[in-house]
Symmetry: C2
Subunit: 433 residues, 2 copies
Amino acid sequence: MKEVRVGICGLGTVGGGTFQVLARNASLIAGRLGCNIRVARVATRTPKDEFDLTGIPFSQDVFDVANDPDVDILVELIGGYETAKELVMTAIRNGKHVVTANKALIAVHGNEIFAAAEEKGVIVAYEAGVAGGIPVIKAVREGLSANRIDVIAGIINGTGNYILTEMRAGREFEEVLREAQALGYAEADPTFDVEGIDAAHKLTILASAGFGVPLQFEHAYTEGISRITPYDITHAELLGYRIKHLGIARRRDNGIELRVHPTLVPKSHSIAQVDGVLNAILVDGDAVGQTMYSGPGAGDEATGSAVIADIVDVARSVACGSSQRVPYLGFNPDAMENLGVLPMEDIQSAYYLRIQALDRPGVLAKVASVLSEHGINIESIMQKESEVTDGRIPVIILTHTVQERQINRAIEDLEALTDIEDKVVRIRAENFH
Amino acid sequence: MKEVRVGICGLGTVGGGTFQVLARNASLIAGRLGCNIRVARVATRTPKDEFDLTGIPFSQDVFDVANDPDVDILVELIGGYETAKELVMTAIRNGKHVVTANKALIAVHGNEIFAAAEEKGVIVAYEAGVAGGIPVIKAVREGLSANRIDVIAGIINGTGNYILTEMRAGREFEEVLREAQALGYAEADPTFDVEGIDAAHKLTILASAGFGVPLQFEHAYTEGISRITPYDITHAELLGYRIKHLGIARRRDNGIELRVHPTLVPKSHSIAQVDGVLNAILVDGDAVGQTMYSGPGAGDEATGSAVIADIVDVARSVACGSSQRVPYLGFNPDAMENLGVLPMEDIQSAYYLRIQALDRPGVLAKVASVLSEHGINIESIMQKESEVTDGRIPVIILTHTVQERQINRAIEDLEALTDIEDKVVRIRAENFH
């Protein structure tokens, strides 16, 4: 099998996540790509024992990666501006493709970097720079390519969204910020996050990719959330609105709006319902209407997921040969698994059961005992005396996750009880956690 | 500029939407693709006057498209099984790439179609078959290519979700279904939608693209929503759950779960909050965690958006020459617009104002009059006598959308009033409708 050789610069949070996922899912990724991804060099100033670098050339100087002829794609995960820019420009000059998670670098120096890459005919990919693992750059550049995009609005900083979510309980900004710092959600110096600078970097990139305009971070407006009070949050709720720290880009005839600030959004809108450290991006296109993309906007493997998706795309476009296309079902035919569909009896689910029981003493105990005999644990049980009609009372049960086979047999036994006359109503339940 | 020639089969809802968007956004799409998309032939049994087919060869027989040497990509939008299959297989035999919105065709005959396409080296693309304009196939096949995907769960039938949403108000299934039929959300024969067959087609495709297993629609389990009662919906809510008609695919070691049925999901989960005709798909990957994709799952231009995205991808892979890659910022450099960022005074927004006023008669009138002088309309105003402290009372106002310049001037005038001593608190508001 052919291979593409990547050189990873930086082995911190994102670098570490990328390295681990590349190792763990190597054969699965090769099955999708039709080509192996080999880590041909790693460079980091602070090597960590937790990563097995056996057989991988290692340096402390990241420029060794940019100058290594055995590297096809340089993966820039060192962060920051100046060194990162020099590193990326060196890689481009050396004819290497670049994958980066560095939003600051792209927002501030992207125009120059893309011009240099265009001249050398190399790819610079930056999905991981915006909203972590959510493939929103791909959605905007490719998935919505038919649309004139008019608005992009996003919760694109998890720290700020976490703080605003917690403040809905009436807590003050400063208190929640200290807690977020203790939990590791916020940095010791939280300015980048809570003042909207990080979000403005991402918004700048989204706006340019969506509207087809140059990157203009220097003109983005930023306003932080430090002056939002629980009082305003409460009164916004009374008006039917929720306060979110949004990045908003809007295409107008004479220019674009590019701004990050606290914003009231209708509580009923799906973007208002994105809580905690999650990110979500709303994109409004003239053909598709509003689509939204949400998920974890940060984290080692989540961001690594986007880094690797970019490596796969670059490999597909060039390094593995131009005949590589996306396979029909995502995986190359010889990498497909012959897994069959399980019979329903074998699926696993929780269950909501509604049992129409005769209103007699001891019915609840009989029902519970049937479930217990079949190894079914009960999460909740509800029986309301006020709902007795014609001597019958509904018993409502939510079970833990079991095999459907167990529920089917338990229902047979329940329906055989003399205290139960009707069929048992059964609806499946899923927690997705 | 090079061109790619598409032949559109079917000019109904999706065909019409595709045709219109291709015409309206032709230059924008060419700016992203670097190549023109030309409609080289249209075939439909029932031509409609609303489409301007001037200069486009037209037939009533869709096989004319499959046999036209001037067509590079056949776009199958006729729906159904047998004719559609024959049409697509003919196009493949003739070496044409295929773009289709036909989920039933792919779910049932996809394995055979993909094998034939693989042999001829042509692409078959089907983004529009799943969840309308939401680019979820792209997310699963490309955006999440680093992940072992474990679960895909989706609200992938808008009709069913609309009915369940309306039933939360205590209405019966039959009543809401009749209303949905009157509104055009549900077909005269609603079986496909409410019994989960349509959803099972889409789920089958999602599962195969996500897990790398063959399409196995014949083994999918389907259970409809016709037996869900308002009673169960209410009691599920009391337990903290909402009932959704979900398609659920789960990868297990010995097979996959593939099932469509009413499902209780925790109210706090984002998928529970997707209401009305919207679609949403949750994807759980081992690296990225849970990401969700939501938006309109049907509609002429929404689905057309996905059809065109596929045409662009096919053109990029092959028909426009293999040097075509996705441009850095989505548009080719010479197609970028030189739109600048507007100054904040020029942006348009609604505003939440909190004015700390002296508790005197007539203050509200003065505030309203200042806003009115600046042409600012009030959407809501709130003043609570119970909130008077130290002789001051907060007045809370939500305005309609205006220019920021107007608000800035109005705030200056408000702060100059003798009845107002503190600074006015101002937070922007957006409705996104």
